[in-house]
Subunit: 192 residues, 2 copies
């Protein structure tokens, strides 16, 4: 089964390619395609609007995701704003800002959340799945692996950040893995 | 399992109540709730936006549908515009207009399409299903049962229109039955 993965993010594409079962073939977005609007206030809405947008343009089955870091002491921030927050700035600066906001904060509980969506508009089909990985916010930026907020997130059961653990470990326990694994399982069960 | 059916249409609510399995309890929208935007250009988008809109407001599981009459000789018209077409006019006038547009047209092939969507935004969950019933456009308005375009649609295998066949027969073979039956089956299979 051929599915386009609606992302321009090379890291995400590699993560999902490691996760996917052999009967699914993932292809990237064409280079010259417009960028989907992403203005919802939930992960679900953002992932749905991306998947539907590209499924309509490409007339094919598409998967998309939206994901982010949800920090308990910051009332869920940055959440759906994880990538839009401090737009234009790199993640080094974004992480520093988060660490400043978390200074002296004892409750460091956080989770990465990913909502994965499959859409095929011609078939009137949409499916989704959620994946979470719980953990805590580190005291400082650690590690160069991964992407986004990985270097300040320590998953439960580990001492290292996602940035230190690297892609091999992350692709085993990540929110994205959990969301896409469940999504591919739903697709298989429903024999689409 | 409790699900709100996002419709203000009494006929749709009754149809789905006949179809639903006993383990699902369908409740209507509260009276004082705002009306969801419905401006997509596919059945899927309209059903998704309704289901998501109400799931967010009500913080509960919601099903919604979008449906319409798709006429081959009219290039799919009225399609997603089935209810918006000639806004404010009753279905008697809408059907007369359709019959005029179909005058002298030999290809009378048509289908009713329904896309049913389940959404629970808090759970990051969305699911959909499509149902179709094929048939043809009658030469004149016949029967007072059903609603919408039922009195000009003759399902394959019958001589009478949906308007003449009445709700008992319609609820056995309708596009809405097919879409919701599949949707409830998906919900059961996935053990949501």
């Amino acid at each position: 089964m051929k599915i386009v993965f609606a992302t321009k993010n090379f890291h995400k594409l590699r993560e999902v390619n490691i996760i996917k079962p052999t009967w699914i073939e993932i292809s990237p977005l064409p280079d010259d395609i417009p960028i989907a609007p992403e203005s919802g206030d939930t992960f679900l809405e953002n992932a749905v609007s991306k998947a539907v947008f590209y499924s309509k343009i490409l007339k094919s089955s598409v998967v998309a995701d939206d994901s982010g870091l949800v920090i308990e002491a910051l009332n869920g921030f940055p959440g759906v704003q994880s990538s839009r927050f401090m737009e234009g700035e790199n993640y080094g600066r974004k992480m520093k800002k988060i660490l400043m906001m978390m200074e002296d904060e004892e409750n460091r509980k956080a989770k990465f959340v990913c909502v994965a969506v499959f859409a095929d508009v011609e078939k009137g089909m949409i499916l989704s799945s959620i994946g979470e990985v719980k953990g805590k916010i580190a005291q400082e930026i650690r590690g160069k692996g991964g992407f986004g907020y990985d270097p300040i997130f320590i998953p439960n059961g580990f001492e290292k950040t996602f940035g230190e653990l690297g892609e091999e470990v992350k692709s085993e326990i990540s929110h994205r893995k959990r969301a896409f694994e469940k999504l591919f399982d739903i697709i298989r069960k429903l024999e689409i």
